[in-house]
Symmetry: C2
């Protein structure tokens, strides 16, 4: 099967090979060294400010989103949540669950946020944003958001789970207090690890806040991370894969080159299906994914035919969007030939009258 | 390296091979089918009562322990915590963090619990016990504990993280409301997944309790599990490995045969090192692990020499026990030859005057 979902995605055979062994014991200086290198490579790739730290949680991205809401924010915060799809909605639910005072800035599905939507929110203390709202494919205008936050002394918390490596992301440039990503997106290894980079402002907040949850504790993750360890048994194999993958990225032109490749895969796909009966959902798409609305047929039907007749996984949308929208991911180990197979499959479906 | 720690442990090459591929997309009927089979195989192996369910969390065992304390217990409970080592202590910390009324029954490190230690606790509502306290190697007298709980209408919650498959465990027989295990113990696959089996009493409690944490929510895990899915992206590869491993166990004599093999590995090791200058730490050891106190030298030194000179990982103890005690695990893919290599290495060290 060719996998064009937005995660888990296809991995480079070199990286997969790491998992083709028994998981090594990890309370060792060798593993600590690897973890310390993981931390510094991630911080370098994010261009994190001096004094930043990075932790690795054995969880999905949602675990890290919740950890952020529990451990970095507190009940004195007034939080702006940008909500333009499923993942924005998840931040809202997390704020509700943890009784964090918040207001939603609702963005129409697939639409860019406008500066005027933030008017009147200048006295807030924090903002949660899914830089790339993976459900619609929209990449938010992070420069505008960052400028607003900086001007009003609002701490910016960025879910870059599917944006990391795919879209431009400069933690210091954005003055982001924390940034999240996950192992199964553009890092393109097994799912199971969420990564959180923390600028000094976030570290200070973590230190001052009281513990809410042991398993998702950032205090404990940071403390154990000082010696390259985790408080509890982590997904060791996935962390070893991350290590090899980060080294490869850095040795092959770094984040810039990685992003260029993803952008080129996305551009190649988008320009090759322009004549097909699809509407592009996102007005400012991330490089990571293209969300498509089929004009004539149900999206679920396309996903099913691609899977059963072409050996291709496309990414269905969930909930009430399932019949309207499907998505094609551009992250992971996708060769030019793979991309052409997908493009050919869609054109073939069109000729068969299936679109 | 030969790995004789208590997790992650060595895996069968057949099972490892599952991870030697890109992780497949998982929101599919095929993956749902696998997950439903995982659930029913675990329940069968635990001899769970009718109406039980099983969920799979992408976390360490501690994530599941905390989920138990958050989601199944509540602030009306009065909880007995058996505390005979690091993992008993962790349950105490979790009760403190989540403000669960509790009392500790302290067991001396390495010692069996006595019936009289439970006197006066008849009016409690729940008990948390690490069936096998992995830090000391003690296997608690579960029949005595179960009888006490049954007689006094106390709900029994069992951490069997390292006991599952290694020691006798009959969920219905014990009348346990919930049982936890983890992927990297006797299941012998990658770390990253915690498994929790829930009897009808626990399911009722989960339904009635309010949500505390989204990521570790059992309500959500149970709801999504009905269709063989998880609320958030799980460690898919590890779940696929679990599937193959459970099928293999069932086709090769089931839990009984698996336990017999682990017990035989443990017995072979224990009887072969009787003449070495070690004291056995646990008065009633689990089959999963042997904790040893070296009489003449520091435990940390033995662990170091085994690693550097013999290519063998033994399991160090943490904290203030590090110099006193080390552990040998008997779970995972350990062949007779592997076991002999370990035994020979220790005898060789003895001849070299290193013990």
């Amino acid at each position: 099967m060719l996998n064009f979902t937005v995660g888990p995605v296809m991995s480079n055979p070199d990286i997969i090979e790491i998992a083709n062994h028994s998981t090594p014991y990890f309370r060792t200086p060798e593993f600590s060294e690897i973890m310390l290198e993981n931390e510094s490579m991630i911080l370098e790739m994010l261009h994190a400010p001096a004094g930043s730290r990075c932790v690795f949680l054995t969880s999905s991205g949602t675990g890290a989103m919740e950890s952020m809401v529990m451990n970095i924010l507190n009940d004195k915060d007034k939080i702006i949540v940008i909500n333009g799809g499923s993942f924005g909605h998840r931040f809202v639910e997390l704020c509700e669950l943890h009784k964090r005072e918040h207001t939603q800035v609702k963005c129409e599905f697939g639409h860019q946020i406008k500066r005027r939507q933030l008017d009147g929110l200048e006295d807030y203390t924090a903002m949660l944003v899914n830089m790339h709202e993976t459900s619609s494919g929209v990449l938010y205008d992070m420069n505008m958001i960052s400028e607003f936050c900086r001007k009003n002394n609002i701490q910016l918390f960025v879910d870059a789970i599917s944006a990391f490596l795919a879209d431009e992301l400069d933690m210091e440039g954005l003055r982001a207090a924390a940034v999240i990503t996950g192992s199964q997106k553009a890092l393109a290894v097994q799912p199971g690890i969420a990564v959180m980079a923390l600028a000094p402002e976030a570290l200070k907040r973590i230190e001052e806040n009281k513990e809410v949850c042991m398993y998702l504790s950032l205090k404990q993750a940071l403390k154990n991370g000082e010696r390259g360890q985790t408080p509890f048994t982590p997904a060791v194999t996935t962390l070893l894969q991350i290590h090899k993958r980060l080294k490869e990225i850095l040795s092959q032109g770094g984040v810039f080159e990685e992003r260029r490749m993803i952008a080129s895969t996305a551009e190649n796909f988008r320009s090759s299906i322009k004549d097909l009966p699809f509407e592009f959902v996102a007005e400012s798409p991330s490089n990571a994914v293209t969300a498509l609305h089929p004009i004539n047929v149900r999206a679920t039907e396309i996903v099913k035919i691609l899977k059963n007749e072409y050996g291709i996984w496309a990414c269905p949308n969930g909930g009430d969007k399932a019949d309207e929208i499907f998505r094609i991911g551009h992250i992971g180990y996708i060769t030019k030939e793979d991309n052409n197979k997908l493009i050919d499959a869609l054109h073939n479906m069109n000729r068969r009258g299936l679109l």
